[in-house]
């Protein structure tokens, strides 16, 4: 099972600032291990951010995103207390979903 | 092989140890004992590397400021170990030299035996195109152009890379030839990087 994400959502002015930290190797499939064997690709492909059940960001992700990815977004029209849910799915089918409330 | 673990003569070592006040001597002795207990050989890095050779012993005991008399004597001793190329040629290929200057690998426990770079850019500014250079050592940009391209300077560059301690006993720079990290051809290529009038260093 994938490790939990860390989500921070705060109102800054008229927009909610959402920052997400994810625990993921984001392996490109291009690297070799110590024995010279290719390390298989293992990376997040999809990222969804939803506020109060409505998708605000639908992201597609490739292998260029760094290990343990960090994403930041801004959403207008949100308010303190609104529920933020972030979900990802990787190329092996592994997935994770976490939530927080906007502060 | 190379000149590691050269013991000081018994008398000299005893005198050196007696030189320090007992507490400082105790701490140093404890430090050395502790390291020998805590470390283990890994890859090409054997435990013998924890032993000081004579030069290291003198630098360690003098805070890298050895008394003049000793420094001069030992610098002379170091100079006697330099092997100049048998063919008399000190200059190789500056392009190969640039690659050696860039490469920082070699001699660590994760390196294979025999493969070493010079790691020169870690500490020195050299070619003008490389902006990622260290400042532990002096800039070598325009080395030949400012010092002259003559055979004396070629020899100076060769011997300095071979054994930096000849001109400054407790220099921070490794003794690349002395330790066997760089071979004759590599040192020649580095000399060319610094001394060849067509090297980017001298443009």
């Amino acid at each position: 099972m994938a490790d939990p994400m860390k989500i921070r959502a705060q109102m800054k002015g008229d927009a909610a600032e959402i920052r997400v930290l994810m625990s993921h190797p984001m392996e490109t499939g291009q690297r070799k291990d110590g024995a010279g064997k290719i390390i298989p690709a293992h990376f997040i492909q999809s990222l969804i951010v939803a506020v109060n059940g409505k998708t605000v960001v639908d992201g597609q992700i490739g292998t260029s995103v760094s290990r343990n990815p960090v994403f930041g977004f801004k959403v207008k029209g949100a308010k303190a207390g609104d529920k933020v849910v972030v979900s990802w799915v990787d190329n092996t089918g592994d997935k994770r979903s976490d939530e927080t409330a906007i502060s | 092989m190379n000149l590691r673990n050269i013991p000081l003569s018994g008398v000299a070592m005893i005198t050196l140890l007696a030189a320090a006040p007992s507490h400082a001597q105790d701490y140093r002795a404890k430090a050395i004992t502790m390291m020998k207990h805590d470390f283990h050989a890994k890859g090409i890095a054997g435990m013998e590397r924890l032993n000081e050779d004579g030069l290291q012993a003198v630098c360690n005991r003098s805070n890298n400021k050895p008394p003049k008399g000793i420094a001069e004597q030992m610098e002379k001793d170091e100079a006697a170990t330099v092997k100049l190329p048998a063919d008399g040629k000190l200059m190789g290929d500056w392009k190969a030299g640039e690659k050696i200057a860039q490469a920082g690998n070699g001699m660590t426990w994760s390196d294979k035996p025999g493969v070493a770079g010079g790691g020169c850019y870690n500490c020195h500014q050299i070619g003008p195109q490389e902006t990622s250079f260290g400042t532990i050592g002096p800039s070598l940009y325009k080395f030949g152009k400012t010092r002259g391209y003559g055979p004396d300077n070629q020899k100076y560059a060769y011997t300095k890379i071979y054994d930096s301690k000849i001109t400054n006993l407790c220099s921070s720079m490794p003794r690349f030839g002395h330790s066997g990290a760089l071979n004759e051809q590599q040192i020649k290529d580095l000399v060319a990087l610094l001394m060849d009038p067509s090297s980017p260093v001298n443009q």
């Binding site: 969804i48 992201g59 292998t63 260029s64 801004k74 979900s87 | 860039q102």
Partner: protein, 156 residues
Amino acid sequence: MDMLRRTILKGASAGGVLTVALAAGMLKPGQVLAAEWNKSAFDAKDLDGALKAIGAGVAAESKDIVVKAPDIAENGAVVPIDVASNIPNTSELSILVVKNPFPLSTTFHFSNGAVPEAAVRLKLAQTSVVKVIAKADGKFYTAQKEVKVTVGGCGG
């Protein structure tokens, strides 16, 4: 496979809400959650191929796209990149690292109040231009910035 993953994602995200959304017919192609992972775009090995695969073969230079990235990165493993579009009705931002083996790094689709703005951290295999594509009202716009990747020392 991709369809299956998508289904899993729908189940995993936002609990029952998305199921409701699905039932309400919100999840049509071109809308939220619509796009399959664009394999041909992410697998493209050069800029042109990637641009074509995201439909941005022709994109106009725009000063209304902001690309914030370091001028120099000591190593390319984690380069912070912030992008934003001030072009009205921007619905999508893609970030491409031109010299990477697979240039397309991310595509974000914004809706329901999301500002067309994203902060990401990318791997740069070498010194490269980072190119941003914004999609607004069906048209494509672009801006770029070069990030120099240098050789590091011991690495902190």
